[in-house]
């Protein structure tokens, strides 16, 4: 316990042990593991800064502890206990042993409501993972204090105050997730298949494109100067880069931002050269614009636009209709509202479900992804996907197409790689999109469930091909949770540039470090999995697309019977495996015995 003094130095002592709420301690414990210790030493020098931050939290926590608080959760017995607020958690603990307690990250809280009946206050906490809990707090002042603290702590502006910067892992990190999916390693796989591509460092200081990683794959015969010119012609500097190489026929999928043609039809020879360089002689390619033609036309007025046939004669453009983020956010809010509607009217439920349009978005996104996959696999054509910025709908399409085409993306590790490549490194602005969820009262600005829709689409494919994915639904739910609130740094910030600036890989733990441990992998593994090397074509007929109950109805009904069924399924398979290995060993034993004693072989 040699670290205790250090720990005290920047945490407890700075506040004065007397004034420290006892409930802060559990969070401190996690820093007393071997890994935490090193981290602490490493960060010792910044102790002053950290203590200042803790001080800041302490100012926000007017009432750190209230006794006699009653917690109501759906389908669980109520718990009476002590409510504690720490800098990052809301904790409710009963005095009894073995009672499950509540630990809630403030960053998971989407909105709160308070109500008073006499001096008994009630706070309804609505979380980003769509859970709703209720806390009955005796004492009006306590209740008001708690409410205002939660409000303040759940809407901290500064990224560096977020929990991942304070969290120290209690597990042994076998493999640092921050280094698990580096572009240079991914490129090695590509090199083994083709020599037509190179890894460009043109963006190594993020000056060409803010939202791209330092290393991107581009056609070999296109030099960095050309790339720089193309970047000026594409929205956000997002020049076309390689997204996926289809080994079977050598076709590729690229993604980019919209071309900045504007109203007077600006063109860029380098852009044309770049994308034509990806076509085989005599072959045509497809440009999938995720917007309708009308939206794309309107974009011209703001300097954007689309590729015209005249300038891109070897490409055929197809417009699809994936909605933009503010519409998606409204859709999520309506859907969640419908799921929480307690009235028992079937008509009302179905019309609200329909009015939310959520399932329409799922269908539209999946259809577009299937289209991209189809062009590549069946038409034998290369594809370029873009919308406006190329950071939302574009990524939904390119990543889902890979799930369909590439069996590797259906493994746990492969899927992590996909999320890393096509979402995190590709510059999906997670922090902006996932700042609020379905309950927030703030007017949405940049928020949108783009990633959640992607996960929903993956779930639809998983449900249609339950034996072809190495991971189970729980992995998708886990990613949804962590995208919105997490102790890990993976989904913080909006781009690699921002992550680098915040030194996330040095200062926070990667989600993948936690997931890629045997005990966690086991929890996420699909017991039905049998590797399937084929392309899987999901049905996108409305009858085949269901509401993702695992997310949207998760807190609205008891999962007991479904859990039982899942356990039974796992048991049937594990028992079979165990029996198999036992029978195999007996077979061997028998064979040995029979060769030892040739007499017995004759019947």
């Amino acid at each position: 316990m040699s670290n205790t003094p250090i720990f005290k130095a920047f945490c407890c002592s700075s506040l004065g042990t007397k004034s420290l709420p006892r409930c802060l301690q559990p969070t401190c414990f996690c820093e007393r593991t071997s890994v935490g210790r090193q981290q602490l030493k490493r960060e010792g020098k910044s102790a002053v800064r950290v203590s200042a931050q803790v001080m800041e939290f302490a100012e926000l926590i007017k009432t750190p502890r209230v006794d006699g608080v009653v917690l109501h959760r759906p389908f669980l017995p109520t718990v009476e206990g002590t409510l504690c607020l720490t800098g990052h958690h809301l904790i409710l603990s009963s005095r009894q042993d073995n009672t499950e307690e509540l630990w809630l990250l403030h960053s998971n809280i989407d909105s709160i409501e308070k109500r008073f009946v006499g001096s008994l206050g009630t706070i309804i906490v609505k979380c980003k993972d769509l859970r709703v809990i209720q806390l009955d707090i005796p004492g009006m002042e306590e209740c008001l204090n708690i409410a205002s603290s939660i409000e303040a702590l759940s809407t901290l502006d500064s990224v560096s105050l977020m929990y991942p910067f304070f969290y120290r892992p209690m597990f042994e990190v076998i493999e640092d997730g921050w280094n698990s999916f580096l572009p240079e390693d991914v490129f090695k796989d590509l090199e083994s298949m083709t020599d037509e591509w190179r890894l460009s460092e043109v963006n190594k200081d993020f000056s060409v494109c803010q939202s791209y990683p330092p290393l991107v794959a581009v056609p070999k015969n296109v030099d960095d100067e050309t790339l720089k010119k193309v970047a000026t012609f594409r929205h956000g500097g997002r020049f076309p880069v390689l997204s996926y190489y289809h080994k079977k026929n050598g076709m590729v999928m690229m993604r980019a931002g919209q071309p900045l043609t504007g109203t007077n039809g600006r063109r860029c020879k380098e852009d044309e050269k770049l994308i034509n360089a990806t076509l085989r002689p005599g072959k045509r390619g497809y440009i999938i614009d995720t917007r309708t033609i009308n939206v794309a036309q309107q974009a011209k007025a703001r300097g954007g636009g689309f590729e015209t046939e005249g300038n891109y004669p070897q490409w055929r453009r197809i417009h699809k209709a994936i909605e933009r983020y503010n519409i998606l956010q409204e859709s999520l809010i309506k859907l969640v509202e419908a799921c929480n509607d307690q009235s028992h009217s079937m008509d009302r439920w179905l019309s609200k479900l329909e009015a939310s349009n959520w399932q329409t978005h799922v269908k539209e996104i999946l259809t577009t992804a299937c289209l991209a996959a189809q062009c590549i696999d069946r038409e034998g054509a290369s594809v370029l996907v873009h919308g406006t910025e190329g950071t939302d709908a574009t990524l939904q399409v390119t990543s889902l197409a890979q799930i369909i085409l590439d069996p590797a993306c259906r493994t746990i590790r492969g899927f992590q790689g996909l999320v890393e490549r096509e979402w995190l490194q590709a510059g999906h602005p997670f922090q902006q999109r996932c700042a609020t969820s379905a309950y927030s009262n703030n007017k949405p600005r940049q928020e949108a469930p783009v990633f959640l829709l992607f996960l929903d689409c993956v779930w639809q494919i998983l449900r249609q091909f339950p034996c072809s994915f190495e991971f189970s639904e729980s992995f998708l739910v886990l990613l949804f949770e962590h995208a919105y609130a997490s102790q890990f740094g993976t989904f913080l910030a909006n781009s690699t540039a921002e992550r680098t600036k915040l030194s996330l890989p040095e200062k926070t733990v990667s989600l993948w470090s936690w997931v890629n441990r045997p005990q966690e992998l086991e929890r996420l593994t699909n017991p039905l999995y049998e590797a399937n090397s084929l392309v899987i074509w999901p049905s996108v007929a409305p009858q085949s697309l269901l509401l993702w109950e695992g997310v949207f109805l998760r807190w609205n009904r008891s999962s007991k019977c479904l859990d039982e069924a899942y356990e039974e399924m796992v048991h049937i398979i594990e028992y079979n495996k165990e029996l198999q290995s036992k029978v195999n060993s007996l077979r061997r034993q028998l064979a040995e015995l029979e060769t030892e004693d040739p007499l017995l072989q004759t019947p």
């Binding site: 597990f171 039982e564 495996k577 007996l586």
Partner: protein, 669 residues
């Protein structure tokens, strides 16, 4: 035979729309006395399609097109066949023949009267004995000192649509029974449907009283009193009128209606609001249309689903069952159920309640018994509802379809509670309509006796029982909690789904889906073989070594994983959430530091470390058998190869993700 105008037509094109078939097959069409048979010309496959005449619900003849004349066969199992016949003359003959053949006028024309599954007389007689209702009453503890058998209806004199053997309250004298029956529509007096041994409460059924606005009947009032008295300790009974209250009130004008609570002492009247057969008929037509929609948008689909009202009706039936089950199991109060005639909604509500109350009815045998009791024996009008004979189309209604769907909806909520799978429910649905067996013929027991049905046809149950391996749910475990006791379903609207297996044959087959249930059945089958092999090997090893057999039992501890439950309640690793904090009031903070905070998470069940690599050998040890594994997927590969060769005719752009060649024309140029 006299109805067949042309027994054979060549060069016919058939499109089985309902299986999502996209390619038209060319072949020869034959008409037999019982079937329409289509044999493909393709010498390699010679695929045969057999359609039973009694399964055909309508034959349409759309306008002739240049390629020939068309026929559309719509079947009662919601399959649709499109037929193209080169000569108009032939088409008219086939049409006229099929119209007549699909609408038999006499029972003797039905398939079950000529169908012989190759068994002798004794076997046929035995087939009718497989399901023994008296044995089931005995199983529930009847007769006893509360409920007794009555001979009142032994010759169907009191009520011709009731069975001859019935159970009534012990205190109900023949005079009360007869008096009560005179006051009930069609003479259907209150009789026992299910007796719940745990609470001694019972589910009884009858038809509406002939009360009009003010009529009353002393015997009927005594009858209800007797029902209450047969449940010792209870002070009232529920009378569940499964109709909407308005309908029940309207019936008073016709001299019928519902029980006046002022006349009957100690009853509580409850209306449920299941709509009548006409509403249900048109609702089902709408949901069939939804299933048949070509490339609907999500809005079309959801709007169609809502507009059909179908799920609302399914919910109403399930709600009725839930109300009855709660009264019987939780309150210990007996329930008397009726609707108008007491043979449609009453049958639905009583049988759903039995499913919820008694795990036996969730087994294969149990469901057969239940259908035999509440539907066949209690006089549900199968012949009219499922149009076995040419008759009034207004009498047709999907009453039992709704019961089967309620069971399906329950099986979605309770995946381990039912011994049977979806296929069993669909098989029963098909048999109800097909008339291949005699089980579902006629409208009541008396009618069956009069036409000597048991001597002229066979029972369907032994056939279904024989094929039970195919109908078994691999997740069913008799000892699991949901397989025991009362089922308490959630009936919030979002718990109901469209039953794709029944209404959407198309989506079932394109592209081939992987079914976890079939996969698990295969695994279980293999497990059984392995268990035998294990014993075998152990015996041989013991013999070789000259030692007594060491029986090793393979036990795999159950993994307790909350799949998506609430145990993992947030983004922190679960261990931090579940480890209890020592009471914060303890003053000595340092004492806590020695506690291994995360130890719980480290201790790992050894059973969990099974090598996952074994999985690939699951199907078989034999490497040749790997083909069987990939079979599951081969259809997918097939599909992709088919379309890369460019033959995608008739394919719908939105039905599957695989678009026809023209689908890129949506691009704007």
């Amino acid at each position: 035979m006299e109805h067949i105008r042309t027994p054979k037509v060549e060069n016919v094109r058939l499109l089985d729309r309902s299986t999502g078939q996209r390619k038209v097959s060319v072949g020869t069409l034959y008409l037999s006395a019982t079937h329409t048979i289509f044999v493909e010309n393709n010498p390699e496959t010679r695929k045969e399609t057999w359609v039973l005449h009694s399964m055909v619900s309508s034959v349409e003849r759309p306008p002739t097109i240049p390629a020939g004349s068309q026929l559309i066969l719509r079947c009662k199992d919601f399959r649709v066949y499109q037929i193209l016949i080169p000569q108009e003359r032939d088409c008219m003959d086939v049409h006229a023949s099929l119209v007549r053949l699909s609408r038999p006028e006499k029972y003797s024309e039905l398939y079950c009267m000529s169908f012989n599954p190759n068994v002798n007389k004794e076997e046929r007689e035995d087939s009718w004995k497989l399901i023994d209702l008296m044995a089931d009453y005995k199983r529930m503890g009847v007769p006893n000192n509360l409920w007794v058998s009555t001979a009142a209806n032994s010759e169907y004199r009191v009520c011709d649509t009731y069975p001859s053997e019935l159970f009534v309250p012990k205190s109900a004298t023949p005079a009360i029974i007869v008096g009560s029956s005179r006051f009930r529509s069609r003479g259907r007096f209150p009789a026992l449907s299910y007796f719940h041994q745990d609470t001694l409460a019972a589910v009884c059924r009858c038809s509406q009283p002939l009360s009009g606005f003010s009529g009353r009947c002393q015997e009927d009032e005594m009858m209800l009193q007797a029902v209450m008295k047969s449940n010792p300790g209870s002070e009232y009974i529920y009378v569940v009128d499964t109709r909407p209250k308005l309908n029940a009130m309207a019936n008073r004008a016709a001299g019928k209606g519902y029980e006046n609570e002022d006349h009957y002492t100690n009853i509580k009247l409850q209306f449920i609001g299941i709509e009548n057969i006409h509403v249900m008929r048109s609702s089902q037509q709408k949901i069939i249309d939804v299933g048949e929609m070509r490339a609907p948008s999500m809005t079309d689909f959801l709007w169609g689903l809502e507009n059909s009202g179908w799920l609302k009706h399914i919910k109403a039936v399930l709600d009725a069952g839930v109300f009855i089950a709660r009264a019987v199991a939780d309150e210990g109060v007996s329930v008397l159920v009726h609707c108008s005639d007491g043979w449609d909604r009453t049958a639905q509500a009583c049988s759903v309640a039995s499913i919820l109350l008694d795990p036996f009815y969730r087994t294969l045998k149990g469901l057969m018994v239940l259908i035999e009791r509440d539907w066949v024996s209690f006089g549900h009008k199968f012949s009219h509802r499922y149009a076995h004979l040419d008759g009034d189309p207004k009498e047709v209604s999907p009453v039992i379809d709704q019961f089967l769907e309620c069971v399906w909806q329950l099986s979605e909520q309770f995946p381990c509670a039912f011994e049977f799978n979806e296929r069993f429910l669909i098989a029963i649905h098909t048999q109800v309509y097909s008339c291949q067996y005699g089980t579902f013929l006629c409208n009541c027991q008396k009618e069956r006796r009069d036409i000597r049905l048991h001597e002229r046809s066979h029972s369907v149950w032994p056939q279904l029982w024989k094929d039970r391996a195919e109908y078994t749910n691999p997740l069913y475990k008799a000892e699991q909690s949901q397989s025991q006791g009362i089922l308490r379903p959630n009936t919030t609207p979002y718990c109901f789904k469209m039953w794709k297996g029944l209404y959407n044959h198309m989506e079932k087959s394109t592209p081939p889906r992987q079914s976890p249930s079939d996969y698990l059945s295969t695994v279980k089958e293999e497990t059984q073989q392995l268990e035998e092999e294990l014993i075998n090997h152990q015996e041989r090893i013991a013999a070789l070594m000259g030692k007594p057999i060491t029986w090793e039992k393979i036990e795999v501890p159950r993994r307790r994983t909350s799949h998506l439950g609430q145990r993992h309640c947030g983004p922190d690793p679960p261990s931090t959430y579940t480890h209890p904090i020592t009471s914060p009031t303890q003053d000595n903070g340092h004492a806590l530091s020695s506690e291994p905070v995360n130890q719980e998470a480290q201790t790992k069940d050894p059973a969990l470390s099974l090598p996952l690599g074994l999985h690939t050998h699951l199907k078989s040890q034999d490497p040749d058998d790997l083909s069987a594994c990939s079979d599951l997927e081969s259809g997918v590969a097939d599909l992709s190869s088919r379309s890369s060769s460019g033959v995608d005719e008739g394919k719908d752009p939105n039905e599957t993700a695989s678009p026809p060649p023209d689908w890129k024309s949506k691009g704007n140029h």
